[in-house]
Amino acid sequence: MSIKLRQQVVIAVLVVGLGLLAWGAKFHAQPVFSENNDKGLLTAESKLIKEVSIGGVVRDPYGKLRMTYTGEAPQSCPT
């Protein structure tokens, strides 16, 4: 692979990575349902990252994201 082509590939990969990162951080959100909220609370991806790290969100049999707890969050993930 020529150096020119490698440079172009690196720029493309970097743009893709930064684009995904920016999109996730700024725009990506999902509705999460809970016992107290049947309409679904739009939750940012960064908040979802924290929730999955403690097993705080599951997908229920109806395909909706649902909180596994109310009140105080679990201390660590279920695994």
Binding site: Q7, V13, L14, V16, W23, I49, K50
Partner: protein, 282 residues
């Protein structure tokens, strides 16, 4: 013997290389959360379990697997790994990953070491595609082969400290399940009879960064006209790679030891740093 003129980044590397363990240790100040920031809304680009009481950030592999189980695309985790990989490749593995540091420290113990066949490096992609993506997606996080359930980082960084602290405090010991105990024991045996076994055979994060070695801004460059085929770089490489044949091999963790060969034919450089290198007589 003539030696190639060093690239600007290689000059820095040459000075830092003797201090690699110190750099790895200093990076712990970022990953081990000394100020109790607990920023688990963001991933770190290193292998460090978020269940660890000393984890500043979330583990990107754990997040990708959990999102896969939820049938969500993890934009932040994937974007971060692609961007960091495109910048540095597997330098992250060799210089700042805490799990790599643990294995490097064990490698300093003078015990007989088993050689790991090169082909086993491909198994990391099996772990990535299977235990991180496919199994979580199709079977959820309850499957026994879900990555977090078989990951030694969770056992070493969470389960083990829990057991020790409970034992020291005289509390009931929260024993992990038999599989986790077996994995942790196997890990500790493996790091004393081989060099970086987790990184070289299993690490899904290393698979991503290693794959991007060929497409990273910081790259390894072989000056073929400077190479004397002395084989010194192969001796310097403790991972059994042939840096003179494949300087950007996907199994390389970029410890950069191979750049210390006599003719300095192997160098770290920026991909856009393509100015002609002058020769100097040594």
């Amino acid at each position: 013997m003539s030696t190639a003129k060093q690239s600007p980044i290689q000059k820095v590397v040459s000075k830092l290389i003797a201090w690699r363990t110190a750099v790895q240790s200093l990076s712990l100040l970022v990953w081990l959360d000394p100020l109790n920031f607990r920023m688990h809304t963001f991933c770190a680009p290193v292998f460090h379990c978020y269940a660890c009481p000393l984890a500043t950030f979330a583990c990107p592999i754990g997040v990708i697997a959990q999102f896969s189980a939820l049938h969500l695309f993890p934009f932040i985790a994937i974007g971060l790994l692609i961007a960091v990989g495109a910048l540095f490749g597997s330098i992250i593995c060799g210089w700042v990953c805490p799990f790599g540091l643990l294995q490097d420290l064990a490698a300093k113990v003078p015990t007989p070491r088993l050689k790991i066949p090169q082909w086993m490096g491909y198994f990391r992609y099996v772990v990535l595609l299977g235990a991180v993506l496919a199994i979580p997606y199709f079977y959820g996080e309850g499957h026994p082969l879900f990555i977090c359930r078989i990951c030694p980082a969770g056992g070493v960084e969470k389960a083990l400290p829990d057991v020790v602290s409970a034992a020291l405090g005289g509390n009931p010991i929260p024993w992990p399940n038999a599989i986790k105990i077996s994995i942790v024991l196997a890990f500790f045996v493996a790091i004393f009879i081989s060099i970086r076994p987790w990184c070289r055979i299993f690490c899904p994060l290393g698979a991503i960064f290693g794959f991007l070695n060929r497409f990273s801004l910081v790259t390894m460059d072989l000056k073929e006209h400077q190479c004397t085929q002395c084989g010194r770089c192969r001796t310097l490489c403790t991972y059994g790679i042939q840096p003179d044949k494949q300087p950007n091999d996907h199994r390389c963790i970029r410890c950069l030891e191979c750049t210390q060969c006599g003719p300095k034919a192997l160098q770290t450089k920026l991909l856009f740093d393509d100015q002609p290198q002058e020769e100097t007589k040594a």
